[in-house]
């Protein structure tokens, strides 16, 4: 099977400061890739660049993404176009949006994707029913959907809301940016469980994380170490265990 995502020699900067300095990564459908690395290594930047955050500038290299069996220039698409084509970023710090209800937000997002693919949009009652089933995946209470997006949510609720959005949008490529940070063990389990249920042979997941513990729940096919804006090591899940044990220093010294 061909690649879903091809990142080639990607360089990117934020506010004029170079952060990514030549990333190469290939991801196929059905795969789970974990990207680990010390603080400031460029993990979040990579996720933001994939999802098209306007604050990040790509200075060199390319990102290709498979759309209708062809590799297309992902960087040429606006953030909403990427999302419509199945790219999803679970934010490390989801923003609070007062005044917009979760229900209205999720339905607008879902229908926007439907519209793009020429499938019928869902009316309110059917979407409510559809949403109810998705909420079970992340163990969410009903009243949750009437509340304003992330407003007054606890850290764990915000992360679960990200996974709910993922469940609603069924992305082909999901990038989870430190979705495990700030979660206690129960919340982590709920989130990981949700991700596992959404994992399939048709989609790929990139997990960005600091800690091995998330990988106890979501088993990756590949583990990459990102440091200084480059991937300096790639291995299978045993690499994560090694990092847990020995830290990053042994890699950085090479």
């Amino acid at each position: 099977m061909g690649n879903l995502l091809e990142i080639k020699n990607l360089h990117a900067s934020v506010e004029g400061k170079a952060v990514l300095k030549g990333i190469n990564l290939e991801v196929k459908a059905g795969e789970v890739h974990a990207i680990m690395g010390p603080n400031g290594s460029g993990k979040s930047t990579l996720s933001k660049v994939i999802a098209g955050h306007p604050g990040y500038e790509v200075t060199e290299g390319s990102i290709l993404y498979e759309i209708n069996f062809q590799m297309k220039d992902l960087l040429a698409l606006s953030p909403d176009e990427r999302a419509k084509e199945g790219v999803f970023l679970a934010f490390q710090y989801p923003v609070e949006i007062p005044g917009v209800s979760n229900f209205e937000f999720l339905r607008a997002a879902f229908n926007s994707v439907c519209k793009h693919h020429g499938t019928p949009e869902m009316d309110e009652p059917s979407f409510r029913e559809f949403l109810r089933k998705k909420m079970e995946i992340v163990n969410m209470k009903e009243d949750f959907i009437e509340r304003a997006v992330n407003t007054g949510f606890s850290g764990g609720e915000k992360k679960r809301n990200e996974i709910l959005q993922m469940a609603v949008l069924s992305p082909r490529l999901a990038v989870l940016d430190e979705t495990d940070s700030g979660l206690d063990i129960d919340a982590l389990r709920v989130v990981a469980d949700g991700v596992n249920r959404l994992r399939s042979k048709d989609n790929a997941i990139i997990l960005i994380t600091h800690y091995q513990r998330l990988l106890d729940y979501i088993a990756p096919d590949y583990v990459h170490v990102l440091a200084g804006g480059r991937i300096i090591e790639t291995g299978d899940k045993t690499l994560a265990l090694k990092l847990e044990e020995r830290g990053y220093d042994w890699l950085l010294q090479n």
């Binding site: 909403d80 007062p98 937000f105 926007s112 949008l169």
Partner: protein, 454 residues
């Protein structure tokens, strides 16, 4: 500046001498004359006045203002979802329009129309209960004069052709609101100049009663109107009112609104002002808290685009101890629009233990729009709590991006965020039916906006 506006109104008033009510209503004629003398001497406000610093009335000053032509009024359409309203009272060009109104008999509420009372008294005299209503109406007019006098209130008194009195008996609770619709009709579109409409509403809520009312202003045509509305609300002891105004007039019109709320002990008022229409609008909300335990909640939302100019002035007078006011006004500005918010709070010397809070937040969707926000706190008592805050800002790009990352196109994201910003006001309304009604209008108006320019 040429005072064509004032001169034409003086001429219009003088030409009205044949239209005196007379008889039992000679007090009204006198009151109109008295009001006429007042506004004629004062003239229209200019920007030299503190209260009009940011709003120019040149458009009115330089135009001919006339009374509407006598004409047949066609069918009046209803743009609103009004199922939840107990009654619907329609005024066209400031005159009661029974055919378009729905006025079921409700025990505990009395309606009276000045035009009908005058008509009946001419045709054979009033019954004693009708006479009583006239006395109440007269008292109300006088009360308005003592509350505060302004050129526009006086203009309204001089030119009013009708008035609505709504009287709620003591000890009654009405959760479902009444809708009063002020429609400006199809007077010939004038090249310059305005037709004047002077809606007047008097609401009296009896002791320990609870009442809810919406006044909606809209246009049936593109004709240019100068709508000069005055509403007086009188609350008995421990009475509660939810009062909401929504202005949706055409964007050639000029709208001046004056709302005066007279409190009593432990009474509560919730007033909300929604402004979407008119080329130029000015709303004065004047609240006197002159009885202990009186509490007022004020809120407002304005959405201005193109060349629109919207000005809100609120005045809350804390005159006695243990009075409370809480206000929040929010606005969205697009195009080359301008907004003014002047929130004036006075805490008088003996009004100890009073609380006053005020917030004004503005969302700018265009670089060419302008806001002047001015909190004005005068505090002469020492044991009080008072706060104010004002913000002017743009949409947070992180919010726009978050929605975009969820497949929502940028222009839809902007609308959704603007709606969210606005709905804080509609969702904050306490009366459930009014909340549903207003959040529907806010959603509709903001969904209809065009986005895409910077």
């Amino acid at each position: 500046m040429e005072k064509k506006g004032l001169a034409s109104m003086v001429a219009a008033y003088e030409a009205l001498s044949s239209a005196r009510a007379g008889g039992e209503f000679s007090w009204l004629d006198d009151m109109k004359d008295e009001a006429f003398r007042h506004w004629k001497a004062e003239g229209l406000p200019t920007r030299g006045l503190e209260r009009w610093k940011y709003t120019s009335l040149e458009a009115l000053n330089g135009a001919v203002v006339e009374l509407p032509d006598k004409r047949e009024i066609g069918e009046i359409t209803n743009p609103f979802a009004t199922a939840r309203f107990t009654a619907e009272i329609v005024f066209v060009d400031g005159v009661f329009h029974p055919a378009a109104s729905r006025l079921p008999a409700v025990e505990g509420i009395r309606y009276a129309f000045l035009s009908e009372l005058i008509d009946r008294s001419r045709k054979g005299g009033l019954a004693s209960d009708q006479h009583e209503l006239v006395v109440t109406m007269r008292g109300f007019f006088e009360k308005g004069e003592t509350h505060s006098r302004s050129v526009f209130a006086s203009l309204n008194t001089s030119f009013l052709q009708d008035a609505l009195l709504l009287q709620v008996d003591a000890g009654k609770t009405f959760k479902d609101p009444i809708l009063v619709r002020h429609v400006t009709g199809g007077a010939a579109k004038r090249e310059s100049g305005f037709s004047v409409s002077s809606p007047r509403v008097l609401i009296s809520v009896g002791r320990s009663s609870e009442f809810a009312i919406v006044e909606a202003f809209n246009s049936e045509s593109e004709a240019r109107w100068f709508v000069n509305s005055v509403t007086d609300i009188l609350l008995g002891d421990a009475a509660r009112v939810s009062y909401c105004r929504v202005q949706l007039e055409n964007e050639d019109s000029l709208h001046i609104g004056t709302t005066r709320i007279h409190h009593s002990r432990n009474s509560y008022s919730e007033s909300a002002q929604f402004t979407f229409g008119a080329r130029l609008s000015r709303e004065d909300l004047l609240i006197r808290l002159d009885a202990e335990g009186a509490e007022a909640k004020l809120s407002g939302f304005y959405f201005a685009r193109g060349q629109q100019h919207v000005d809100n002035y609120t005045l809350v007078d804390h005159e006695v101890p243990y009075t409370t006011s809480d206000q929040i006004y929010k606005g969205i500005l697009d195009g080359e629009s301008r907004a003014v918010f002047n929130g004036h709070v006075r805490i008088h010397r003996n009004a100890q233990k009073s609380h006053a809070a005020q917030v004004n937040k503005n969302l700018m969707l265009s670089r060419k729009a302008e806001v002047d926000t001015r909190p004005e706190l005068e505090i002469d008592a020492d044991d009080v709590k008072a706060s104010h805050g004002a913000t002017i800002g743009q949409l947070d790009p992180e919010h726009v991006y978050y929605l975009q990352s969820r497949a929502i196109p940028k222009h839809e994201a902007v609308k959704m965020l603007a709606r969210g910003f606005a709905q804080e006001i509609a969702f904050g309304l306490q009366n459930e039916a009014i909340r549903a009604f207003m959040s529907g209008i806010v959603a509709e108006r903001l969904n209809g906006m065009e986005v895409g320019h910077e």
